[in-house]
Symmetry: C3
Subunit: 430 residues, 3 copies
């Protein structure tokens, strides 16, 4: 047993209950139902236009909200079930983090835009709250297997708070009005990297290989990504544009990802790991300029390039990172969210430069500075805090092991012993 | 072999075909398409308001209808796949019962509200028909493993007929206008209990343990529960309120369920059985007052308490029921639907008492009397009828065995013999 | 090793990249966003009516589009995962073909209806593009296991091009205005048969048996079929009619399929293969007359008969086809899409004859002639082209084997060796 144990008995329940009770109190003070009468609340720049529509039927966005919900809870939630001894954790902790993140996200986004001293909850704000959880779940993908539920709740709390502040600064103070500012996305990426560095431990095999079970999550993400990129766009032509761009970017991305996978693999075979990740790169990359007038073929070019870059990343970059820097990218965060995200940021800047959207160079520079500052300070701080030894994190030789934080049924352990390995002989594996 | 065999050859096809042919004849006589011209059909109290909206676009509710559909057919349908030798039955019989229940439900609800002698089918009525199936599927969860397809069809027929009459009385005669009357829900619960008692047999192990496969059903239910609680609310502000209340009640419930699970388990570990059930208790409990003005924090308090109550129920009540009363609650009906349902009923009454909704005490008492009467008489009768020995139910030693009513592929039997148990030692089959 | 190897190294990437680059160029030339200003583009007969609605909100159809998307990518995409050594191929190639088919379909349908020289992409057109993929995926179900990715891309290219031309002729030149012309559907069926004949090889066991994993796909298809049959119907009463007809046809079909399955099986047991396929026959059969005024009971009669016909087909026709004609119908294309499709065609003709819809006998005859001509020439040609020996198709003894075109993880091969069989001892299995 290590000096600090992985026993969660008091730490976890107290933290979870405290966070929830504080949240309920803040809700009691600040959160009311949307009554359809809006001042200048502007959760996003397009809020004004948006409200004109939703005043007529407050549930117009509800189907898109449910699509985003499915992406968050099914798509991200079950993507990591290929980790054989870590299925309970990957799906169970996902639900926990997402449920807290959406409540906290609603507060952290809404507190900057009080209307008559209140946060008025609309479907639009629920979608934004769901978005908050997306970054948390990507971060979870980077650090899972090596973290305790307590650490993850703290990460969620810090991450959402920090980005609430940064995005308020960028959107409201600097008047950068892009729905998905490339700087904000880039900052989130840097933040994840630094947090990751904080909990880094070079595990042995995570005991996983892609199966068609996790493929179903890829397909759910692939199908609903047009909703993700368009849900908070201005209703009407802009929203249709965002749907169209994402739909065709994703389609083009599939062809290039398959082609490059076959090109780089032995005997021209396809690799399921490439397919399950690189086919989504088109959705990530087109995100920043989804609601810009880049033409369907422009979106397809972005998707086409993203599919190539992401597949090459899995083939050539991941092994280099693993052997040279000791970074084990179990969930392909670099290749799916990192490089395609940067590609998308560049595409967005080019599109703005070509006059597809208004913008000011000075404000953009300030936005970059703010975002980088928050990412460096926030990510570094989060990483350091998570490194503190008393959060009940798993000992190094036991990462990716469900049985530390979950009751694993005895009979199942026996039955799936081939797949699960013998828990008691764990150390031999490391 | 028992005196009455489990051979379904004539019983089941004749019953199924007869029921379907009678249903088609009743449809031919009574059911027409909705033509948008409504009198006072009022399938529910809010029908009048509702129609004003749907007259403009009859498919406004269609996305919510599909969410409810997914909950019924995927959420309830695959929740029991953790039963290892009973996967065919749990998913296959679910589809059968749901398909019959929605047809019969449309008739039993609609016959009380004929317009010009006809039932005019709208999306609104289809949602109500889907709701009919929900109670049937919860009942199925209570009696599965010990019942034949014939018994289950009879149970469906009786249950929907009885509740059609009771809910007509409560809604129309007594003018109790709550969307989900707590008495109706409570009556359904009592009914299920009595029916259950009728088929009760103390099986050995049901051979199941929670896996992340069934977790995906929990998540589908969790995601779409806001649609379930709001689909038939009055469009506009009330519907948004129902969505908001359910969304935050469910989120708060997750935190308290995880916290309590960790608190009561050995070494602070989490238990997947708690997580997969108690995280839904917030949706059940907030149901009765989903469209009341209780405030988002009020909904969260209900969810928070429901998560605690449900988890404690799984930990402490289920073993007591099993050892003292011999009730084996395989699917957690008590802890997920029973106690949170009662909690929700109390919350609804408190909310009405606090003036959140109009109501008359005398009528409420009459509604309670009516509902209890129907539940006791109906549940007792259904239980007795199902106990009759000639419905082809499985012999006591063979409950939870797919091979009684399904062709189980030989090759699969061999392959999964470890999981399935050794079929050749199964007396009935050999 | 055969003279022509299964190595895809150059063939597949070059073909995939070339097709995608050509597609992007055609998109750059022809495809623009929908600006809401429409001339007489009429992708379908109901376009005029349709636009009046969508001009107000271009995303009205978006929820139905997502339902269709789920059917295509989850429903069809994972239906074949019961093939144990062929899971990667069935889900992976499905995504590839669908992604190409929807892009190519948009071009092939849109080029006949240019507005100001452009194809204006709307949600309506995206739904039609998704429909294009449905036939391709049914064809894929007929030829899978015996075809290379290169062959499948060529099949997709030819199939969509041929039917784009035929359906243009039928809809625009002959003014047959039915949404789903029975002739067009029949032609697609003949086409699939001929293509199938082209690649025919009598494999040994495909190593698959139905499990509840593939059952979830059936249920997704079952739930969303009402969207499939109604998505491009005229908004308002017609669309509601199409939803209603499909919903009740599917429900009636379930009862008759279960009843007949029990009737024809040993000891009255149910067969999962029947259940998973025949329960969908009601959706196929009602397709042609979904938007006709046949009454809910009329739709139920169609569904009821389709469930019977389809189940009997699985029980009695499939073995005859296999033993006498050597056609191994792994995915039940005959029984699910063939016979119920023909039944639906007949029902549609009867409905038109009874005056439920306008029509001209001469034009109908011409439509039949055109459709048959395209099917015979197109299907024969596609079959011959796919038979050419240099597309890298698998050798006869290796059909239904993932490892030919996919990197199969070593560890998994070991682990699942019982299920996967020993790849090198393949022949012994047959």
């Amino acid at each position: 047993m290590p000096a600090y144990s992985t026993n969660m008995r008091l730490k976890f329940p107290i933290l979870a209950l405290t966070l929830e009770i504080i949240t309920i109190i803040l809700f009691a003070v600040f959160v009311v139902y949307d009554d359809g009468k809006h001042g200048g609340h502007g959760a996003h720049n397009n809020a004004t236009h948006h409200e004109e529509t939703t005043e007529q039927n407050p549930l117009t966005l509800y189907p898109m909200f449910q699509d985003v919900h499915v992406m968050i809870f099914i798509g991200f939630g079950f993507l990591m079930t290929f980790l054989k001894r870590y299925g309970f954790s990957s799906v169970g902790l996902n639900l926990l983090l997402a449920a807290f993140a959406l409540q906290w996200g609603l507060l952290m986004q809404g507190l900057w835009h009080l209307e008559e001293g209140k946060i008025k909850v609309s479907i639009f704000k629920m979608i934004n709250a769901d978005f908050s959880t997306a970054t948390v779940l990507i971060s979870f993908g980077a650090v899972l297997g090596k973290t305790s539920p307590v650490q993850l709740l703290i990460m969620t709390l810090l991450e959402i708070t920090i980005f609430g502040i940064n995005e308020h600064l960028v959107a409201e103070v600097l008047k950068i009005l892009d729905t998905f500012s490339p700087w904000c996305l880039f900052a989130r990426y840097i933040y994840i990297l630094l947090t990751w560095k904080g909990v880094l431990y070079v595990c042995g095999s995570s005991g996983g290989s892609s199966t068609y079970h996790s493929h179903i999550c890829t397909v759910f993400l692939w199908m609903f990504w047009p909703s993700f990129n368009s849900a908070i766009a201005e209703p009407g032509a802009d929203q249709l544009m965002a749907v169209t761009n994402t739909y065709f970017s994703l389609a083009a991305c599939v062809l290039s990802a398959y082609a490059v996978s076959s090109l780089v693999e032995h005997k021209g075979k396809l690799d399921m790991v490439h397919i399950q990740n690189a086919t989504l790169a088109g959705g990530v990359a087109v995100g920043t300029c989804a609601d810009m007038d880049i033409g369907p073929f422009g979106a397809m070019i972005i998707g086409f390039v993203a599919g190539i870059v992401s597949t090459l990343g899995f083939k050539f970059l991941t092994p280099i990172l693993a052997s040279n820097l000791g970074i084990q990218d179990t969930c392909g965060v670099h290749n799916l969210h990192g490089m395609p995200g940067i590609l998308g940021g560049i595409a967005g800047i080019v599109a703005v430069a070509l006059g597809k959207k208004d913008g000011s160079a000075a404000m953009q520079a300030a936005a970059l500075a703010s975002s980088l500052g928050f990412a460096l300070v926030g990510g570094g701080m989060t990483g350091l805090i998570m490194k503190l030894p008393f959060w009940g994190q798993p000992p190094d030789q036991n990462c990716f092991d469900d049985s530390i934080y979950w009751e694993v049924p005895e009979e199942e352990e026996g039955e799936e012993s081939l797949a699960h390995g013998d828990h008691s002989m764990n150390k031999a594996e490391a």
